[in-house]
């Protein structure tokens, strides 16, 4: 395994994240002769979509589907490219001068990068329903990771709930693996079909159309799907039952496992802490970095590629990684030969064709984004929705003041699981827009490091004098 001492003190290109965007970017840059290192905090490469691609115990290819296995060539390409690939490496700091703080096996190092590509991907949108913190309630992505990376499937009374393509994909994969899913509670608002209709023509031209339809058929043939307008999880110390409302009637159902999903959103923490400007996307209901055509951000030398740049999916992430890498190679080594970015952009456009339809159709209902009462918003600090409502009503206008008042976003996850909810709750209470409310201001370390690791970093005389006096 690569340790901190195997790293150079500087690289032409540091790629952060080993999913499709990061792998494609590192491969392209390294092949062009640019010194490249790729860091990923997971034990293996592949990101979430190709999780466990080099090590999965699942041998029956049909279970995960051919789209998953497409990741194998991407991984092989990156490995053969000459890029240094370091897994188990957590990047916890990135500043505008492109100093990268990375921690490997409990040791911290600072690396100077000439260019940085942030490819930290997405995470699942918060799904703050009553009881979502109970053991037995997990994200759909977690169930997928358990399957892909570890060959684990849920047992007992298994329910899926939510909305979005990943939920259907997970259902199909679990069914193929022999799991019984009791029911799928579909939170997609019916009115979304009307919103999605104008995008239907594009969608019919996209690769999502036939794949998606096949997936829906496969799942619906085996699992009852119930449209729901309310949802909560209950139990003493762990999940025991789920309550929901469908067509105006209330139901209660015993459950051992509940997998939640209502889409994915960019994981913005590192880019935000690096000072990259973000904006609110009303289409995708999340913050995304402001980027130029080459994926360059507002901070010189730092690009963002893949779903971290706005959700477009895994195959689009590959092309977006390449676009960012081409720009990096051109900046670092203008003489190197790189693919024509125009042809990459054309492939990307095809990949992005069906996105408008999916965004509209699977736009999560207000009900499941704007919790009330005692529902926990910040899982780390156990801050409840009512507290946020109350402080907003007293004049608290933004998430940073809210954090000071209530500690939401102050725990170890650093707002990843509450940030969007807090922003939207404030906007809702104060009748403003999320774009005006803004997001948490994040600072390094964006992932926890130990005090000893922090203490081991280089210190200048001036920096020491700022403290010792």
């Amino acid at each position: 395994m690569t340790g901190p001492s195997d790293l150079s003190s500087s690289y032409d290109l540091v790629v952060i994240g080993g999913g499709p965007a990061g792998l494609a970017a590192a491969a392209l840059a390294a092949r062009a002769g640019v010194s490249t290192v790729l860091f990923d905090e997971n034990p293996g490469i592949g990101g979430q979509i190709y999780r466990g691609i080099t090590s999965t115990p699942i041998k029956n290819r049909a279970v995960l589907g051919e789209d998953y296995w497409a990741g194998a060539s991407l991984a092989a390409e990156a490995k053969a490219s000459g890029a240094q690939i370091v897994t188990g490496a957590t990047v916890w700091s990135l500043d505008p001068s492109r100093q990268v703080g990375v921690s490997i096996g409990g040791e911290a190092r600072m690396i100077q990068a000439h260019r940085v590509i942030i490819a930290t991907g997405s995470l699942e949108r918060p799904f703050p329903i009553p009881g979502w913190t109970l053991p037995g309630v997990m994200t759909a992505g977690a169930a997928q990771t358990a399957l892909k990376a570890h060959g684990l499937v849920p047992e007992g009374r298994v329910l899926l709930a939510g909305s979005g393509p990943l939920l259907w994909l997970l259902a199909a994969q679990l069914l193929r693996a022999g799991t019984t899913i009791e029911t799928i509670l579909d939170t997609t608002p019916r009115s979304n079909w009307l919103r999605a209709l104008p995008h239907l023509a594009d969608f019919l031209l996209s690769p999502y159309w036939s794949k998606g339809l096949a997936l829906l058929r496969e799942v619906r043939a085996k699992v009852p799907v119930i449209p729901v307008q309310r949802l909560s999880a209950h139990g003493e110390g762990k999940l025991q039952h789920v309550e929901y409302q469908s067509a105006g009637k209330d139901y209660r159902r015993q459950a051992d496992m509940l997998f939640l999903h209502q889409g994915v959103v960019p994981n913005v923490n590192l880019a935000n802490a690096a000072g990259v400007a973000h904006r609110w996307s009303e289409r995708q209901l999340c913050f995304e970095p402001v980027l130029d055509v080459d994926s360059g951000s507002s901070v010189s030398g730092i690009s963002v590629a893949g779903d971290g740049a706005g959700i477009a999916g895994g195959t689009a992430a590959v092309e977006r990684g390449r676009i960012a890498a081409i720009a990096a190679v051109r900046a670092v080594k203008p003489s190197a030969s790189v693919p024509d970015p125009q042809s990459v952009r054309q492939r990307l456009q095809r990949e992005e064709l069906g996105r408008g339809f999916l965004d509209a159709l699977y736009r999560p209902a207000d009900m499941f984004r704007l919790p009330e009462g005692e529902t926990i918003v910040c899982r780390c600090e156990e801050v409840m929705a009512q507290q946020i409502h109350d402080m907003a009503a007293k004049g608290c206008e933004g998430p940073n003041q809210m954090k000071a008042f209530l500690r939401c976003g102050m725990g170890p996850c650093q707002g990843r699981l509450c940030g969007l909810t807090v922003t939207e709750l404030i906007a809702n209470e104060r009748h403003t827009r999320p774009a005006d409310v803004g997001y948490y201001r994040l600072r390094p370390p964006v992932k926890p490091i130990t005090l000893a690791e922090l203490a081991s970093l280089p210190i200048s005389e001036a920096e020491r004098k700022a403290v010792e006096r």
């Binding site: 700091s93 007293k394 102050m410 201001r441 490091i449 005090l451 970093l457 280089p458 210190i459 700022a466």
Partner: protein, 374 residues
């Protein structure tokens, strides 16, 4: 309610402003509290939460007395806030330490304290110099490198973010009008009242109190006052929540009632609030591990930097305007320590319309001219 219906407009929604607003509301005043937005440069979100006495006042003996007065008032202040809001700000006054990691640091410490306590007119209280074994009796987890400490029994700490929230809750209940995103751009006195031009229209009030931190420097001249400021940046490191292990605050390291450990503090000339110097955090971490080796494996979950409100000589400014009667300015670095004074002593003075010279005359900004002339 018409915009002119306030007895007092307070400019600045930080700890100084909100403590003063609460004190004025208790005196029966109709108060407007004008604040900036979510991303304002906000020292109140970035303080270290000490209610601190030791070593304050070298160069201005009256400041030591003013500090001790607030420290003594804090128990009652916290109790009253709890009664009004149900929120406990967790004020504790077990005494506090300033740890030295070398004989040189300890000597420097003793020297400062000697000079402080030898000043004429200084308030009478004790700060002791203790050696390693004496410190270890109270702080059993200190590292071998700690050679000694100064200890003052009047020192304490509080949960300052909860204090901020508690005061905001309390002023809401008492009917103070909180006006966020009302950045004040002009103040004129006309027809016996103050007209404050803000980003969201005009606010009128009979009196005005400037509590805008470093921004008082720009605001004070609008009402014939001055506030010479010299802001500086400080950085803090915060750990995850830990079981209680430290029962006394140390000037650069304290465990909050929630369990997190705050580690500070630096003084940097940069005043970019968004900037953060990792080497400074590293120095703080390195000293913290030498002071308390058991913290080495503890996780850092946050760091932040904030801009200190600092006057040019480091001492508070409390002044009232001669040219614009009814205008007051309040500037100080220690918005937490002095919160009790601002709520219980300064606010009633503003409610009465005049500062009590016997208490705050030494803190007039006129002192800066005396120094220049001398």
């Amino acid at each position: 309610m018409a915009a002119s219906d306030y007895d007092v407009a307070i400019v600045g929604g930080g700890l100084v402003g909100v403590a003063t607003a609460w004190g004025l509301a208790r005196e029966g005043c109709r108060v407007a509290l004008l604040d900036e937005g979510d991303r304002a440069v906000r020292a109140s979100r970035g303080n270290f939460a000490l209610v601190w006495v030791q070593s304050k006042g070298l160069g201005l003996a009256a400041y030591a007395g003013w500090t001790v007065r607030s420290s003594n008032a804090w128990t009652g202040f916290a109790a009253t806030l709890k009664e009004e809001t149900g929120l406990d700000v967790c004020f504790q006054r077990p005494g506090g330490f300033h740890l030295a990691l070398s004989e040189r640091e300890l000597e420097a410490r003793a020297n400062i304290l000697n000079r402080l306590h030898n000043q004429p007119g200084i308030v009478d209280y004790k700060t002791e110099i203790l050696d390693h074994s004496q410190v270890a009796k109270m702080l059993p987890d200190i590292g071998r490198e700690v050679v000694g400490a100064s200890y003052c029994p009047l020192d304490g700490h509080v949960n300052s973010l909860r204090l901020f929230r508690t005061l905001h809750t309390a002023i809401h209940t008492r009917g103070v009008k909180y006006l966020p995103s009302h950045r004040v751009e002009s103040i004129v006195r006309e027809g016996g009242e103050f007209r404050l031009g803000t980003t969201q229209g005009e606010v009128r009030a009979g009196r005005v109190a400037l509590a805008a931190g470093n921004a008082n420097m720009q605001l004070a001249p609008m009402v014939g006052l001055e506030a010479p400021m010299k802001p500086e940046r400080g950085q803090i490191v915060v750990t995850e929540r830990l079981r209680p292990f430290l029962h006394y605050p140390v000037v650069t390291l304290r465990q909050t009632d929630e369990g997190t450990v705050m580690i500070g503090d630096s003084k940097e000339e940069s005043i970019d609030p968004a900037g953060l110097t990792l080497g400074v955090s590293a120095t703080e971490a390195e000293r913290a591990v030498r002071q308390f080796p058991l913290l080495a494996n503890v996780n850092v979950v946050r760091t932040w930097s904030a801009i200190r409100v600092m006057t040019q000589d480091g001492f508070p400014i409390y002044d009232e305007s001669e040219t614009h009667p009814g205008a007051f300015v309040l500037c100080c670095h220690s918005g937490v320590t002095l919160a009790a004074n601002h709520a219980l002593t300064v606010a009633p003075m503003i409610a009465r319309g005049a500062l009590d010279k016997t208490l705050v005359a030494p803190f007039s900004a006129r002192r800066f001219h005396v120094q220049e002339a001398g």
